[in-house]
Amino acid sequence: MADTSVKMVDTRTLYCKVIYIVNSEWAAQRLVEIQTLMERSTLYRRALAPTTTLTGCMGMAAAWLGWSMPITEGRPFCLFWMATSLCCLILAGLMIRRQAWVAEESFWSPPTRRVAMAMLPALCCGGGLGMLAITQENLPEIFYWGLPPLWMLFYGCALFSAGFFMPRGIKLFGSLFVLTGLLLLSRAVLGSVDGVLPSMAHAHIIMGCSFGFMHFAYGIYLFMTENTSTLES
């Protein structure tokens, strides 16, 4: 009789222990789930409208400068646009830094880090191609003509990746770049087959229309849609 009661107690204790371990494992899983959800849902909203408008203005100004100078050789073209993109990047970084300072937030916050990491591979590919065009001599003309569409493709991919952590149609904007890049790349390839590649001065207009005007238009759209009027709280 005594043996049975001891066994019963043991079984009950074991049962409670198992239940408790199962529950604590479940609690740990829940915590991980919450952490993942919190990380995934932290959206990057910083300085989108001013940075895209500024990038657009700089792109259009650079296109006009490149066209009017004119820069018609492949290597100077790449150098010119690489320098322009670097200026845009620095200015955008300064604007984001300023906004973070005003909002009393850290500049290199987890959302900023995630967006930067998402954009980095595609941007590195585009930058690498640009560096190749600058450092190498005697590259075929089609390579230089292929650069603007390839830059658009990589930039579009970078924006699309960043769109997973950003609101407000960034993915769509990235897709637009990818589509434009693909169309222009096929046009450049067809042009090289036919043997009719226009002067590189025209490439400035393409850069101005895509990187310049598209950014500018998107920035204006963001500015216009940011003005909200609260009805009730």
Binding site: S24, E33, L37, M38, E39, T228, S229, E232
Partner: protein, 101 residues
């Protein structure tokens, strides 16, 4: 004591969908209905029901505005919601900690 801990877990937050909404809102100052829907992959009806429950519990505040001439609804955690969510997480952490001991 340990078994009591489970019953202390906030029933409103405990449901998976509502916990997801609370987690998303806790890491953002505010989120729109569309943003929440995209983030959590929920249907309109499901999301509305859960938000209403959280709103009734006083955990979520709703604000309606106009964005590009379109109605725009955004949600944020109230102070009560923030402390309830914090307490929920602390309780979960306590359960895990006890098992490790």
């Amino acid at each position: 004591m340990k078994t009591e801990t489970f019953s202390q877990l906030d029933k409103v937050i405990h449901e998976k969908g509502r916990m997801a909404i609370m987690s998303s809102l806790s890491s953002n100052p505010d989120l729109s209905f569309k943003e929440l829907k995209n983030l959590l992959q929920m249907t309109d009806g499901n999301l509305s029901v859960h938000i209403r429950t959280l709103q009734q519990a006083g955990y979520v505040a709703v604000s309606k505005s106009f964005l590009a001439n379109r109605p725009h609804t955004s949600y944020r955690l109230t102070r009560e919601g923030q402390s309830a969510f914090k307490a929920y997480i602390e309780l979960l952490a306590q359960i895990v900690e006890w098992n490790q001991d």
